[in-house]
């Protein structure tokens, strides 16, 4: 049986991990390669590296980082943040990334999704959607959630799936950072409607939130940052809990 995936997200600034605590058994929680290897050893199913610097100089640092990660880590990983062109993607994939994720660039130029799917295959194209609830429904936000758009979230998700996105990383800004749980209704609606995997993100605070994301939310994977970085929820404990709840996970 295909298992549900747990994906720690590492925020990267100038080649270093932004948040995170020093686990007793690793030397440098700011080193993305070391932190990533630690998560992989603990049973993370994939990793996501999100570059929040997004300057031109930082691009080269990011490619270099991807090269190190690919050399050291033996599970799949996605790289996102500030990716704008086919050329950006080509560099990251050739450096060893398994998937890339695009967000604002896809909203600005939806044809980029088609181009990337055609050039590199849908399996490596993740479209990240940041969304927030308005009075009349869910809408897409860009630029790290700062800029609202008039694009309706379900319509956009359907469009990127039709254009060849391989997965959708759905971040609910209502929930993000609140640790009050994932936005389950929206996640379930997308997962039921679309034939591609949905990664739920934003709001994980407890192990029960992860379980809900997979049951009520029908998500294929769940991504979180703080609860892993601050050690609130160790990955092995989470996997054991999910297994007890009857949710298929890689043990």
């Amino acid at each position: 049986m295909l298992t549900k995936r747990i994906i720690p997200c590492l925020d990267i600034k100038d080649g270093r991990t932004v948040k995170g605590i020093n686990f007793v058994d690793i030397r440098d929680a700011g080193d993305p390669v070391e932190l990533g290897a630690r998560y992989a050893a603990e049973g993370a199913d994939e990793l996501t590296f999100l570059d929040i610097t997004a300057t031109v100089e930082a691009r080269d640092t990011l490619v270099e980082l991807v090269r190190h990660v690919a050399a050291e880590i033996n599970i799949p990983f996605t790289v996102g943040g500030g990716i704008r062109t086919v050329q950006d993607v080509s560099r990251l994939l050739h450096a060893g990334a398994d998937k890339i994720s695009i967000n604002s660039a896809a909203v600005r130029n939806p044809g980029l999704v088609d181009e990337l799917a055609r050039e590199f295959g849908s399996q490596c194209v993740v479209v990240a959607i940041d969304t927030n609830r308005h009075a009349d429904g869910w809408y897409v936000y860009t630029h790290g959630g700062r800029t609202p758009t008039e694009i309706e979230t379900m319509a956009w998700a359907r469009e990127v799936a039709d254009r060849g996105a391989g997965e959708i990383l759905l971040t609910s800004m209502v929930a993000d950072g609140t640790q009050a749980g994932f936005s389950l209704d929206l996640t379930a609606a997308l997962s039921t409607e679309l034939g591609i995997p949905i990664i739920a993100s934003g709001g994980a605070g407890t192990m029960a939130h992860f379980a809900e994301a997979f049951t009520t939310g029908k998500a294929d994977a769940a991504l979180a940052a703080s609860v892993f970085h601050y050690g609130t929820i160790p990955i092995p404990t989470l996997k054991a809990y999910l297994a007890e709840q009857g949710i298929p996970v890689r043990g």
Binding site: M1, L2, T3, K4, R5, A40, D45, A70, A71, N74, I75, P76, L93, H94, A95, G96, D98, F120, G121, S122, Q123, C124, G166, E167, G195, I196, P197, D220, A221, R250, G251
Partner: protein
Amino acid sequence: MNLVIIKYNAGNVQSVTHALHRLGVEPVLSDDPAVIRAADKVIFPGVGEASTAMRYLRQAGLADLLPTLKQPFLGVCLGLQLMCRHSEEGDTPCLGIFDLAVKRFPAGDQKVPHMGWNLLEDLQTPLLQGLGERPFVYFVHSYYAETSPHTIARTDYMLPFSAAIHRDNFYATQFHPEKSGTVGAKILENFLAV
């Protein structure tokens, strides 16, 4: 050990190379028939589309060569599919090393591609020894080879399919050992020892 990774227009060559480095092997990347023929072992990776990949292999003079090789040979993902007789992807005649048809997963309740970690069952051959009790490996694919007497590991997704196949010196895995954590590393290590 002279291990050659077949170079063609497919992804994941980099990941396979890294995985071998971690096992202390420095592979050679080549599409030269003479270099491939002289290798001790050959790995045939693959992420991409079947008809495009077959066209490249024909142009490089590899489509006739590969089925005649005698050294241990490991196909990965698209590599496995290309080693079969025919793929529904682009209605493509393939290398025919295995007399198997590659089909697309049926449209239904479950999502295609089959993406993520799934379990290997009914393991056979030394390639898949020592993987522990519940070996999970990483898959990303929309097409599959049916189960057959060549099947050395089965996985279930909508239906049972060949997660790995074997005939003589030819091995192939539908999953990505290079991305399958310690289980995948063990499989590659086993292949180096075949």
